[in-house]
């Protein structure tokens, strides 16, 4: 029997029961659409997070005191080793000597009590340098950022986050006012533009001091971390080696720091989200298997309803393989058409998601689309085999009699 005849007969059989066929198409379409939508959400989340991360600048490295392996279990980036020595401002200055490094910004963080006239509140104090503005891609709402002075010099100036400024000064201009923090005072010289949480900082709740002033405030000689911007993406690995080498030499040959490249964090995020998306796809694929079982069930019923027809075909000389192929083609057609419908529904849903959340770039990854199509069609083949072979094995005499 010719291929286009098999196909034509299969399509004729499917269109004979429009309600039953529509139900099956819908079942498959839902499965395929589910795979597409769920992976679109997962992929959108991944793109968003890694994109935001990447927007911070992919040339960033962070130096932490202590090697994380010797420091015991804990979240990356926040732990200090028990026997590590402090990172100092001189370490930060020394690191600048590498020609693969464009700029550095040491970081001191602590919480303090800020007050102005009658008002007071707990704030997070960030001690850093002029370069921090550029490294974090912050922008100013009013005034200017920290002055470009030697990092070892303290100055009684501060920059406020948007939230802090509103709390103390409502919408009035705070520039020139004196803020009391702990037992020191500083003059407000700038307000950061509202930025929410960027990286590890909740910028709106910060008060930023020159790093030396912060060290004096918290009575510490060391720095919490050093943020470093490499010259280029390509030079990051070399920059990393330079940093470790420089600090090691300064710390009597001990490698007691951890250098985290943003790349490593980025790729960790990437793979976590990648796994989440794959898991979502797996869950959605289960619904395709269920749809396949549905098809098998419906086709078994169809075969028992069409025994006379099958008997007639055999009487006319149809071979077993031809009958098998006919029914299998019906199953595959159902899956194929259902898949097309599901792709359309999935695309529509993705489009709706994108219009509702324009900030996030939803979109099912190509592997998910191909997986959905592949699973749907294989489902048809696998679950169509049983009813098709049952039809092929029917006894012609019994079938013609309707048994």
């Amino acid at each position: 029997m010719r291929a286009n005849d098999t196909s034509r007969l299969a399509l004729q059989s499917i269109s004979r029961y429009p309600l039953r066929t529509s139900m099956l198409l819908l079942a498959i379409a839902i499965g395929v659409a589910a795979v597409i939508l769920l992976t679109a959400v997962g992929e959108g989340a991944r793109r968003y997070v890694t994109g935001e991360f990447a927007a911070l600048g992919t040339h960033l490295l962070v130096v932490l005191p202590g090697k994380t392996e010797t420091a015991g279990a804990g979240a990356a980036g926040m732990l200090i080793g028990a026997t590590a020595r402090d990172l100092t401002l001189d370490d930060a200055a020394a690191i600048l000597r590498s020609n693969r490094i464009r700029q550095v910004a040491p970081v001191v963080v602590g919480s303090g009590n800020a007050s102005w006239r009658q008002r007071q509140r707990e704030i997070t104090v960030l001690g850093t340098t002029y370069e921090m503005l550029d490294i974090q891609h912050w922008s100013m709402q009013r005034g200017r950022f920290l002055p470009q002075i030697d990092m070892n010099i303290s100055a009684p100036v501060c920059v406020m986050g948007d939230g802090v400024s509103r709390e103390f000064f409502d919408n009035a201009n705070p520039l020139g006012e004196w803020l009391r923090i702990g037992d020191t005072r500083c003059r407000v010289i700038g307000v950061l533009a509202q930025a929410g949480v960027t990286g590890p900082f909740d910028t709106d709740e910060l008060v930023i001091l020159p790093v030396a002033s912060a060290q004096a405030l918290f009575n510490t000689a060391g720095v919490f971390r050093i943020l470093i911007e490499a010259v280029s993406r390509e030079s990051m690995q070399a920059a990393r080696r330079d940093i470790i080498e420089i600090v090691k030499r300064r710390h009597q040959g001990e490698e007691d720091i951890t250098v985290v490249t943003q790349d490593a964090v980025l790729s960790t995020f990437d793979s976590i989200f990648g796994m989440i998306t794959a898991a979502l796809a797996g869950i959605a694929a289960i619904s395709l298997i269920v749809a396949g079982i549905l098809i098998m069930n419906v086709m078994l019923v169809a075969v028992s309803q069409r025994t006379q027809e099958i008997g007639l075909l055999k009487a006319l000389g149809a071979k077993r393989q031809q009958i098998l192929l006919l029914f299998l083609t019906e199953a595959v057609y159902l899956c194929f058409l259902g898949t097309l419908l599901g792709l359309a529904l999935g695309s529509l849903g993705t489009y709706l998601l994108r219009s509702l959340f324009p900030a996030i770039n939803f979109g099912a990854p190509a592997w998910a689309i191909f997986a959905a199509i592949g699973i749907a069609i294989s489902s048809g083949l696998v679950f169509g085999i049983l009813p098709a072979s049952r039809a092929a094995r029917l006894d012609p005499v019994q079938s013609l009699a309707g048994r």
């Binding site: 004979r16 027809e309 009487a315 000389g317 071979k319 012609p396 013609l400």
Partner: protein, 227 residues
């Protein structure tokens, strides 16, 4: 052209064995017109199914065109059916979603014949049974007599050597029945062997050779042997 040699067909019904055909010997020449009659359960339909290769004997041999087909595989039997045998059933067995033309060309589709050739052949056959104006009608738009004529067309479109008819007029009124009988007798006059199973003595009497069956055996074989 068809020879049965000590052919039996047994069926298991529960834990009993029913001898639907009991050591039948039968020889049929090309071009014969034979009727098979007998009470229900006598084995007439089983004989027809066996001759038509829809069934295999439990014992004995069946020679079709000098070939021993008793132990042919399912596919080989299907091939023989397609090329040598035409069936006509009491309940027509047309496919309801196909029109008359598509029903007639079904054997040609199964045989892989190209679309133009099979359309032409099917049209010619429908012409010969007087249905040239009803080709695009579906079975539910045709009368009983017209449906049986479509079935006859389907049975002869592959130009088989033998036509097997199981109660061909059973579901028809007398007028349509007579038309159908006339058509198949004309086919027989043109050379096709014709076997008609019937319980209607008027129809059975028209054949040249009358077989009577009882309890799986041929108990009567009368009439002229050849044209």
């Amino acid at each position: 052209m068809m020879r049965l040699d000590q052919v039996s067909r047994d069926f298991e019904v529960g834990d009993q064995i029913v001898h639907a055909l009991d050591r039948i010997d039968l020889e049929i020449q090309a071009g014969e017109y034979i009727s098979v009659m007998g009470p229900s359960g006598s084995g007439k339909s089983t004989l027809l199914n066996l001759l038509g290769l829809l069934d295999r004997p439990t014992s004995g041999r069946y020679w079709l065109n000098n070939e021993d087909v008793s132990h042919f595989s399912d596919n080989e039997l299907a091939d023989q059916r397609q090329r040598n045998i035409g069936f006509i059933f009491q309940s027509f067995h047309l496919i309801p979603r196909l029109n008359a033309l598509e029903n007639v060309e079904l054997p040609l589709v199964l045989a892989g014949v190209a679309i133009k050739e099979r359309r032409d052949r099917a049209r010619a056959v429908l012409d010969s049974v007087g249905l040239s104006t009803r080709m695009n009608h579906r079975p539910d738009q045709l009368s009983g007599g017209e449906r049986q004529r479509v079935a006859i067309g389907r049975a002869i479109v592959m130009r088989p050597g033998v036509l097997l008819a199981d109660e061909p007029t059973g579901n028809l009124d007398s007028k349509s029945g007579a038309e159908v009988v006339e058509i198949i007798e004309q086919l027989n006059r043109n050379g096709i062997s014709l076997l008609v199973v019937t319980h209607d003595p008027e129809i059975g009497g028209r054949a040249q050779r009358h077989l009577v069956m009882h309890d799986g055996k041929i108990v009567g074989d009368m009439g002229t042997r050849s044209k």
